[in-house]
């Protein structure tokens, strides 16, 4: 490798102390992957494989037991403004309005900017997620989807080099999820944002990600495959299932979640043509985590 990657994760391992005198549990180990600037990377895997822990280590909120995370050649040792986080449970402060919630972040990032510029930045990013009409509302007056949008606006508003998202749409209904996915796709396309996102929704990963990391089950989870998304960009929810790669790739991901690791998708390809779609052997496909 001649130029070092934007984010480099080296032999990451996390061990939690066992409950009451039992042996410690190693949730994952030997984790190696890279993220390039402007890349959208999704991590999928079952609950309990330590997905959120990985994100927390990248965010600097948790510490690895072994291994390192480098960002632009500097080791990540704590939280920082160059990494924005969208939390699973939106984490808005309920005593602040939408405007104040985003302003809290903007003021933290741009400490010396005059008030007018802070306001402009806040309004720009609230407008970006289409919430200008609700700017002076408190979180409890918003729907779940709107709250998550505010969380996204707050994370984008500090203009981080890297955005970390922990199952941001997990708690939303399918319709709202689709709408916000489209918005996120649009925003990332426009800003060239580097994103690391955790999800267990295969379609979400196919739509959004340039690269999908597949994790085996914990404890002792590992990244079994790092699959480049074969679907051509730009992708859209309406069109992407017409791409020849859609069904084979989706089946590949589902097979991984249901049956565990097998041949990597890249090795199934003959040239650039998508592999033929096989009918699932075990009848109707099992739905994994929605």
């Amino acid at each position: 490798m001649n130029t070092p990657a934007f984010i480099q994760v080296d032999n990451l391992e996390r061990t939690f102390p066992g409950p009451m005198g039992q042996d410690p549990v190693t949730v994952f180990r030997n984790l190696n992957f890279t993220i390039e600037q402007g890349e959208f990377v999704c991590l999928i895997g079952h609950s309990g494989c330590g997905k959120s822990t990985i994100l927390n280590i990248l965010a600097g909120l948790d510490e690895a037991s072994a291994g390192y995370v480098f960002m632009e050649n500097k080791e990540v040792t704590g939280p920082g403004l160059e990494r924005g986080v969208v939390f699973q449970g939106h984490a808005l402060m309920p005593w602040l309005t939408v405007r104040e919630n985003v302003a809290f972040a903007v003021k933290s990032r741009f400490k010396d900017k005059p008030k007018s510029e802070i306001n402009a930045q806040v309004e720009k990013f609230i407008d970006m997620v289409g919430l200008s009409h609700a700017i002076d509302k408190k979180p409890h007056q918003l729907s779940g989807g709107m709250r998550q949008r505010v969380g996204i606006a707050r994370a984008f508003a500090i203009e981080p080099k890297m955005l970390l998202m922990d199952e941001p749409f997990g708690a939303l209904d399918a319709l709202t999820r689709g709408v916000i996915q489209d918005e996120l796709l649009e925003i990332c396309r426009a800003t060239g944002q580097t994103v690391f996102m955790i999800t267990h929704d295969v379609d979400e990963a196919i739509l959004l990600a340039d690269k999908i990391l597949l994790m085996t089950n914990g404890p002792l989870a590992e990244v079994a495959e790092c699959a480049e998304n074969p679907l051509k960009k730009p992708r859209s929810r309406q069109e992407m299932h017409h791409d020849g790669h859609y069904y084979p790739f989706r089946n590949h991901l589902m097979d991984f979640l249901v049956n565990g690791p097998s041949t990597a998708y890249a090795d199934k390809l003959e040239g650039d043509a998508p592999p033929p779609v096989e009918a699932p052997a075990d009848g109707p496909r099992k739905v994994v985590n929605g």
Partner: protein
């Protein structure tokens, strides 16, 4: 629906008041005394009458006592004869001074205990021992050390109102959601800004509840403290009127203590509403 509920509740409230006043009035009616075959002239000379007034003040007596006191609340006619407004002001001043001092100590200390599990463990035994001590038990010590009756009662208020505020602040601070702290961490928010912009607003409803409890206790204790040290204040007023055997004034003062206590509680209830938030 709720409108008519309020309306119906007030009707019931008024009915209860009327029944109570009626029963009171009935129970304090002058009673006929059987003088037997005593000469009426002789009985009059002896201060006896066929109609004996009740020893307990009637509602009318109380009404006139309320009127007398409230029509001129701020007169000063000597150290033992001051208007009820003055007495009340003394009591309120002591309560507010003691309470404010307690808040100055309890809120920062509560922050410390809430944020540091070590300090919580270290200070817990002291708090557990100090909390159940009746505030009045401190009075002799306070009088001996401070040598001033008024400041001693302020100290007693301080010591009784500090515990609920301390315990509630510590609890509120310790219970701030990890999410919000994580947000502050990822935004590299400094410790002071974190304390004032995240932890304080998050814990404010719990802190305010502690203050409300403290204020209630302080108002209970001030009456007893002033009865003990004397001089001025609503507690002293009651004791003085008891020594004068003026039960109408005692009952008036009891009512007044209740009304002022209710107002103090309402104020803290409103403050609590201001800082409360709906969690989502």
């Amino acid at each position: 629906m709720s409108q008519s509920m309020t309306f119906r509740a007030s009707i019931v409230s008024i009915l209860i008041l009327l029944v109570f006043l009626g029963a009171w009035w009935g129970a304090t009616l002058p009673t006929k005394v059987d003088l037997g075959d005593m000469d009426p002239e002789y009985a009059k000379m002896m201060g006896l009458d066929t109609m004996q007034e009740s020893d307990i003040p009637t509602p009318g007596d109380i009404g006139s006592a309320i009127w007398t006191h409230l029509s001129d609340p701020f007169y000063v006619a000597g150290s033992n004869d001051m208007g009820i407004g003055i007495q009340l002001a003394y009591s309120l001043w002591r309560v507010l001074a003691g309470f404010a001092l307690a808040a100055l100590v309890a809120v920062p200390l509560g922050f410390l205990i809430g944020m540091s599990p070590l300090m919580r463990k270290a200070l817990d035994p002291y708090i557990q021992v100090m909390k159940p001590i009746s505030p009045l038990a401190w009075m002799p010590l306070a009088l001996y050390i401070i040598q001033d009756a008024s400041i001693s009662s302020i100290f007693v208020i301080f010591i009784c109102s500090i515990w609920p505020m301390l315990v509630n602040t510590a609890y509120g601070v310790a219970a701030v959601r990890d999410d919000w702290l994580a947000v502050a961490k990822t935004l590299e928010v400094g410790p002071l800004r974190k304390a004032f912009k995240v932890i304080l607003p998050a814990a404010a409803p719990t802190i305010l509840t502690g203050m409300r409890i403290s204020m209630g206790i302080a108002w209970l204790v001030i009456v007893a403290a002033e009865m003990l040290v004397g001089g001025t204040g609503i507690g002293y007023f009651i004791w003085n009127e008891w020594n004068n055997l003026d039960l109408a004034n005692v009952i008036f003062a009891i009512l007044l203590i209740g009304v002022v206590g209710m107002i103090l509680d309402l104020i803290f209830g409103l403050l609590g509403k201001v800082v409360s938030y709906k969690e989502v």
